[in-house]
Subunit: 321 residues, 4 copies
């Protein structure tokens, strides 16, 4: 990929077609990505000296960029300043530090309200809860589905927190859109490209968790899938990688945070819950986070913030993404 | 999971309901999985001495098993003999050795026919070709889609080989079913559970590639998803794992083959194409496979069989699953 | 290993011999480890009910322990309270937080004094500097040897800091002992058992860095080598492990700290210098350490404390252990 | 490193000194490595156009090479043809396939003779046996030492096989030299540079096992240490790397063989014994090696040849290098 041509949101289908044809005439291969809000056209091939200027003069073209990284819209080259999102009044990214907390799976209205109150008191600003759960075993509880989403929405409103929940199937994007404020893409779906394209066609924030063997480049390429569809509200999350070290479930790659921040403008969260491993091996776990850890009144969960942000998770939940 | 109750294919909805209720009365939690051909009911909880006999006497129950592994239907405990599949006359599994070969992506009718002839001559018995390609970059060619499937079907018929192609979206299962003989689940979708459930509801073989950081147990759990829906025609594939060693793209985990064969009755293939890395680092690659390697007349592909089986892949293709 | 018998420091050779014979009579195999200060005798074999009492009554026996872990003297089972060392007036371990800082390799008296002053001002309490350098390449500078040790000792005295330096060869233990206050065992020598035995026969602290693919158990077993010789002044160090993630040179395994603290009483340090990777990828590296980071006046080094402690290292130094 | 200057074996100390001075005058830094048989001088710095010719004209200089790899003498650039060693009449390297076999540790004369006869019958051409054992635990049997070496020498003579044994301490090089035909450097000592230098000063072959997290480049750098001292009889060995996959003890990196063969002229062996894991997980282990596997008459060991060569190892031995 040598260039990306960002079309204006006001560009017409004819403008697009002209750009595509011009790219072909110049001996390059066009790759249009039509998002809900604007179209981006990749142009692959041998770059000629005046190419950039030639393309910039075409009708409907907003910007033309030569980008050296495989990810384009996710890169700092494309967008130098930190992206700061406003999610129902909560500011995410740049200097803002947020805690996302809540149960792994929504099990009942009562429990979720109980947890929501506790995490709110403990300083969380966004409520999480799983309604569609990707489970290693087909025989495990796979979530309450739409009923869970309804409960999550209610709890978020009751405790004044925006909500986040995982979506695992492109066919569920619509229903999740109706109830939650942020789409979570789990680690095991980080490269489920059709799912990424589907949430990329909406206007709600997408929280992408790093795959358990994904490089930073691959994580940013997954962000690119969402961004390429016109949805620029992407949040990234380091959650631990799979290594030979088996004392805890995953090895938290703390260096991922500065590496991502250097390469991308997108907000980064850290989810230490998988890397914190089992309850037993966490006994001496003492993180000095960015805000005081006030243990919730319920003993069912731990708050373990490091770096920028964290999720809170009940211990009962052995396999999540 | 303590037990699985396999219902007869003739069992009625009432039979099922009775078993579910009986499980509850016994203080266990029932987890029915309704496949197209039969229902399997998991029963989690404290096992009592006579439990197995009690459940076996219920109407519609075929078998009740206590299985120690997290995977049940995929385990040798459940099915001791090797599973041998008949795929359009080709026998797969047990002592049978097959070579799956073909291009990464179908690019044109002409090229695919050319490749099909070459790999047939080189000893391949199943033709592969990608129509829906999962690509790291949203700007890359993502396959010809349905047109590609049509070409694949034609080529398979012309050269008398069953065909395999990747499916990446549960919404594409129907169209792929119409054209191909085997569903391929790529490494990046190994834990795309809804996709696994969808192909599990069909009667065509499912070829599951090991995720790049998946344990053998996780691979077998993915097989379990398909099996739990009543589709027992599952094939597994080792294709290299992600490790610190970066001289080649992936580290082929050769020991996975005997480990899988010990734990499961399902057929296993090896795909050495990713682990063989770049063309440059393959110069001295000399495998002594199970059948003589006859280099195809086209220099566009390598045949690199090890262990049981292999795919053939064109060099042009940097990122596949 | 079922038991370890700790002999009193006043035990005679005859006492030892009696214990060894008694162990044999009981059908076990004795494994005496004679340290400078006391002898420890392992007894492997089938444990009988009264074994512990029988052995405890023998002359010269201080304590008899059945320990379930492969490491014995390093375990919390053996020594419940945190070990706190006094190194030339500096307290290390338990609640004490120290910073070890200094150049990778000692290059000249002038530079080392310059660095020593800067790191002292920046809050370091122990001075490091390499005189014997393990280098990946035989053609690289391998350190100033004894001259370097003399400079290090002088600089430590001038700035009132105890000193630490790496020892790589059992034949160098004597000369390093004369000049430095702490022996450093590098990651590549973590399982150089004869070297561990040699420093275990001295009375100076031994700082063991985790091997780049070592498990926590293996790290504690290396500590056990030193402890088994009677030298109880062992310090452990997490410095990053080798994983697939290649954005930085090593992945700092932050969870190693609480895991070690749970299993062992020994002090733990963290060396973030390898994991911080290259200068380029550290640009956004912002650790909130346990004490304010005051940048030294020299731009030649970074101070990057996390967790308990850290080393400071010049950037010029691509390959150390 | 830009250049290496290989001195003639007839070069005098004065010749050497002149070259060193000339290198300094040219603005480069000289790094002489004096082997027993010849001296090699590295020259680091900015290369000027006529440099190579200027250095080649100096007295005593045999050859001057600009080598792009960090390893020089180990590279194919330095020595294009396969190195083939003659070890007591056994040819190793190039097309020759050998099996090294024998017990992990020598336990008694009787057992070793028993094993030697069995492995000879099974096709082994070189006898292995450990006299100095690196053990994870200080309480484990660490070998019979010199007595073991004597038994090994006798058994090798009795069954007409050259012998290989591990050396773990530079102080033991002399005694091992007296008894064994090949020095084995274990995986845990692959970067014990002083040990490598010491065996590099002898004229007996050195068999270097890849460290469990070592890259191919690091393995070749360790070979370079031996080669730089004038001992050109180096053999490399892939024995499995540490990865997340824990079904077997180590993941055999089969691709290491062609990668090494491409980059280096040195012979390569494969030791599958660690990667074959536990007896339990090997039940279905069926390698089609380069020669028929005749199971020894003793059930105490397996012969598991793949690729080029293999060692045979008794099952009793959980931790070796």
């Amino acid at each position: 990929m040598d260039m990306i041509i960002v079309m204006k949101s006001s560009a017409t289908a004819e403008d697009e077609q002209s750009v595509v044809e011009r790219i072909r005439e110049l001996g390059l291969t066009p790759h249009p990505s039509r998002g809900e809000f604007r179209t981006i056209i990749g142009a692959i091939g041998q770059k000629t000296p005046l190419l950039q200027q030639q393309l910039e003069q075409l009708a409907g073209v907003d910007e033309v960029m030569a980008i050296t990284q495989p990810y384009k819209l996710a890169s700092r080259e494309f967008h130098e300043a930190d992206t700061i999102l406003d999610i129902e009044g909560i500011r995410v990214g740049g200097p803002h530090v947020n805690i996302i907390a809540g149960p792994c799976a929504i099990e009942s209205r009562e429990v979720l309200f109980d947890v929501a109150r506790a995490v709110k008191e403990a300083g969380a600003s966004i409520l999480r809860g799983g309604a569609f759960k990707p489970r290693t075993s087909p025989y495990s509880f796979s979530g309450m589905g739409k009923t869970g989403l309804e409960i999550l929405k209610e709890a978020g409103e009751a405790y004044d927190m925006p909500t986040i929940t995982e979506v695992v199937d492109p066919r569920d994007v619509d229903v999740v859109y109706q109830y939650a404020d942020i789409f979570q893409i789990g680690a095991r779906n980080m490269q489920n490209y059709n799912l990424l394209l589907e949430v990329g066609r909406t206007d709600k924030p997408v929280f992408i968790k790093r795959g358990l063997a994904a490089s930073i480049t691959e994580l940013l390429m997954s962000a690119e899938y969402v961004l390429s569809q016109g949805n620029h509200r992407v949040i990234l999350c380091e959650r631990g990688i799979r290594t030979f070290a088996d004392e805890v479930r995953f090895t938290l790659d703390v260096s991922a945070v500065p590496v991502i921040q250097e390469r991308s403008h997108l907000p980064v969260f850290v989810d230490p819950s998988h890397a914190a491993g089992s309850a037993i091996s966490c006994r001496n776990w003492r993180w000095r986070g960015s805000r005081p850890v006030r243990p919730g009144r319920s003993s069912r969960f731990t708050v373990a913030p490091i770096g920028l942000c964290a999720t809170v998770r009940r211990r009962c939940c052995p396999t999540t993404s």
